[in-house]
Symmetry: C2
Subunit: 98 residues, 2 copies
């Protein structure tokens, strides 16, 4: 059995899910002080370009994984840029009501 | 001229450089409060697996780009986990002296 494709799937799973805990932490704490907006600008642009690259290559796994990362990274970018009141409003809207 | 490979290079450049401003901000401010350690645990593991995948495929561009991302993401992960005094010591050691 070839283990290399399996390592690729595991790598993709880590990459795709990695932004979820950061997005969740922002929704919970509304704190983005220590986050770097230039990092999220670069990473969001990167995932957008990878998605376009995947479309150009007709590679669905590339399109799907990078499109998910793009949405999550773009959300974090927007939250780092919003003023506190708007950040709270977005976080409130995404927090399940008791 | 085919624009798709160029988009791939630009995407790789964004991905590889994206962690630099975050690492720099941590060295400058020593603040990692808002950062999510699980995010950096996942992303560091992901880049390690992508590097192994690249080695398995014998693809040097994959190895090189993911190894650089691995080092930067691992540094950020370590900084989110270190106690404040050790974080300061690492940041001091990495800050150019006047």
């Amino acid at each position: 059995m070839d283990v290399i494709p399996l390592i690729g799937y595991l790598a993709a799973a880590c990459s795709v899910t990695s932004f979820v805990p950061q997005a969740y932490k922002i929704i919970r704490t509304r704190d983005t002080t220590a986050l770097s907006p230039p990092m999220y600008a670069l990473t969001t642009t990167g995932f957008l370009l990878w998605t376009v690259y995947g479309i150009g290559q007709g590679q669905w796994p590339l399109i799907l994984t990078n499109a998910i990362c793009f949405v999550l990274a773009a959300f974090i970018l927007v939250m780092t840029l919003l003023p506190a009141t708007k950040k709270d409003a977005v976080a409130d809207a995404l927090t399940p009501q008791d």
